[in-house]
Symmetry: C2
Subunit: 416 residues, 2 copies
């Protein structure tokens, strides 16, 4: 009965050749914003305006200084970060850079709880998979051993996480995208967040790298909420465990937004101390620009509603096509995210690379298979990340149809 | 005869008390831009404008990407950097951050010529003194041993530099501010630049950190030129020796400018490779803003002429007061810089800290004595850095008068 769902290889091959003959050039590789999404922040391009450069505390935003970021910018993001303004640092345009720097500082100097710089020994990070390639790349680059743990619908496999973290003092961190995870859209349950906050760690300087990249990036009318890791860490006597990151890259302008950090007072002091030799301060004019444009939390949510109106139809279209073309094929499944930037497509074991190669030949660029896993190695070669935000809706539809054909063909080839 | 120039202690004490009674609060600590200097770049605050966001190569500046910086931004600064556009990287708002990161990458991974990461052994940097406190702070923070070498009027004492660099493989770098040096205003002679380029280095990965912070920051009608280190390094078979840094912090907006790097092709590739895990790209909108505002090299020089018109009178005023109040006092001398942001005041041995303390008590904040030297230790306690750009002209005059009285008093105390 299941066999009936698999189209014949000849039939699919024909569809594939027809698709390929269109000579398309489509790109679903990265979570980039579509031009129309960037247009939502057009006002930023002329802000703050010629006469507006003073911030609170008689701060001339044009001059040097202000390492922690503007007070009003820190307040603006307090709700989103789940932290008081004085426990927030607003930096330049890249939260990835902030995460990198926190790791580089920890390697060179150690955290505020480290007995020694991390680089003095072999260290490891837990990597829930599938996950975000750029997290893994930082670890790979600095020789930080990565240990895969399964990412379930409600967060990482906590029994495994607890077992490893409690027993291995070389494990210094875990990468988490707790809401609308990249790429599966998983949302960490309250129980998982609490267990991350409360679990026993062998390393005194164990850290949860909480990349809350999609905290307000809803795709449905449900604004999913998650538990506050920072507060729970304090409640459970591990106040310095949480390093919280976010950015406005997918709220305002992808390349010209603000990166955000939140942590305990001790962590904030530590990071500011570490940043002090590096820079006199961030680009405060860009922070003022964002304060003027977004205004307050309601302003953030309003612009996110407009993003949703532009991109939710693209996700819906991909899901509609996958539902139509791929339903019932054994070993094929995909996520239906309530937010974030990706759909994760699972294909039968050993087929992901083939699907990506077929798609490439047919003019549809996908994120390389394996990139969702440490060292670019998806042990089962099953996971494909679909990023539908950047192309126009008709292009997304065409690309999704192409991907579906490639999946059918790879499955048929394997069955042959 | 010389004694005649020293005022009596009682007399000076009276002047000091009178000055102190004014209850002033003046700050000459840092090379900050005056508000009127920042006003020169007011246009930046509304640029690029709502409809201008596309750069060369169909680059949407608002989106992710473009690690090396906009092509037009790299061309804009090619002359200033003395390098072709493809050997330039345009980054975010802080050249100090670029220098820090180059050192952090070298510590963690090594340069493109390093047999091992710098952090694998004890390393050292040569520090021409007096020099820039923030250079020294990076070294101190990461435990890089600093070795003082004398900075003469034409650059560092090259016999000493050559001797040390040739004989000690742990010496990995030298800090240089080659034009209008911080704080003395020294300009490296062609011969010194050539010797830096050609000298034998025991370390295969020895680097000259060429912080050309004041390359167009002239204070006189003479636009002083220096030799091109990058080219000379190539000529002398040490193509990767030069790491060239600059920024627009003192051209446009101090906190919202662009940081610049130039190097050999191998160094640029190395740095881009190192930056790749850290960030997807710089704030390209700010780069476009600068391209639109500065337009070309003539535009850069034009804005620098306007800076000069605002700040040269402040330098002249300080020199006029020092000439009047301090001439002939044994052991007291000061520089007459042709550019840059500082005057370096030398006082008799053991007097610098006392002068700074006296000034502070009288409401004139100076850069802490010692900050011009590694570890904050001026071995002779002689050097005081004067930063006259930030206060208004009348305040600069008052502050300089106060400083002169403090010098007289410290000298009189010592003579007593």
């Amino acid at each position: 009965m299941i066999e009936a769902a698999i189209p014949s290889k000849a039939e699919v091959q024909k569809s594939y050749e027809a698709f390929k003959a269109k000579g398309l050039k489509l790109n679903l590789t990265r979570g980039k914003l579509a031009s129309k999404q960037l247009d939502l922040s057009t006002d930023l391009l002329a802000l703050p305006g010629a006469s507006d450069y003073m911030a609170e505390g008689a701060t001339d935003c044009r001059n040097y200084g202000g390492l922690q970021g503007l007070a009003e910018a820190r307040r603006l993001f307090a709700g989103m970060m789940g932290a008081p303004a004085d426990q927030i640092i607003v930096a330049n345009n890249s939260s990835l850079a902030l995460m990198h720097d926190v790791i580089a500082y920890s390697l060179l100097k150690g955290t505020c709880d480290s007995p020694a710089p991390w680089s003095k020994g072999e260290i490891a990070f837990l990597c829930p998979v599938p996950g975000y390639d750029r997290h893994f790349k930082i670890c790979e680059d600095y020789g930080i051993r990565m240990i895969n743990v399964a990412l379930n619908d409600d967060g990482p496999d906590m029994r495994e996480v607890e077992r490893l973290v409690a027993s291995d003092a070389s494990i210094k961190g875990i990468w988490c995208v707790p809401k609308y995870s990249n790429p599966t859209g998983a949302v960490y349950s309250d129980s998982v967040v609490e267990r991350l906050a409360s679990m026993k760690a062998a390393a005194p300087d164990f850290r949860v790298f909480w990349d809350n990249a999609y905290s307000v990036h809803h795709l449905t009318s449900e604004r999913v909420q998650i538990a506050n890791l920072l507060e729970l860490c304090a409640v459970h006597g591990n106040p310095n465990r949480a390093f919280v990151f976010a950015s406005t890259s997918k709220i305002t302008l992808a390349g010209s937004g603000l990166a955000l950090f939140a942590g305990s007072r001790a962590n904030v002091k530590w990071l500011l101390d570490r940043m002090t030799p590096r820079t006199i301060g961030p680009d405060k004019v860009n922070q003022l620009r964002h304060v003027r444009f977004l205004k307050n939390e309601a302003g953030i949510l309003a612009v996110m509603d407009r993003h949703r109106a532009l991109i939710a139809p693209k996700f819906d279209k991909v899901l509609e096509i996958f539902d139509r073309e791929l339903a019932g094929i054994p070993g094929v499944s995909w996520t239906r995210p309530k937010g974030g930037y990706f759909i994760s497509l699972e294909v039968p074991k050993g087929c992901a690379r083939r699907v990506v190669a077929l798609a490439k030949d047919a003019g549809v660029e996908l994120t390389p298979a394996g990139s969702t896993h440490p060292y670019g190695k998806d042990p089962e070669d099953r996971t494909i990340r679909i990023a539908p935000t950047f192309p126009d809706l008709p292009e997304v539809a065409t690309a999704a149809e192409g991907v579906a054909i490639c999946v059918q063909l790879a499955v048929a080839e394997k069955a042959a």
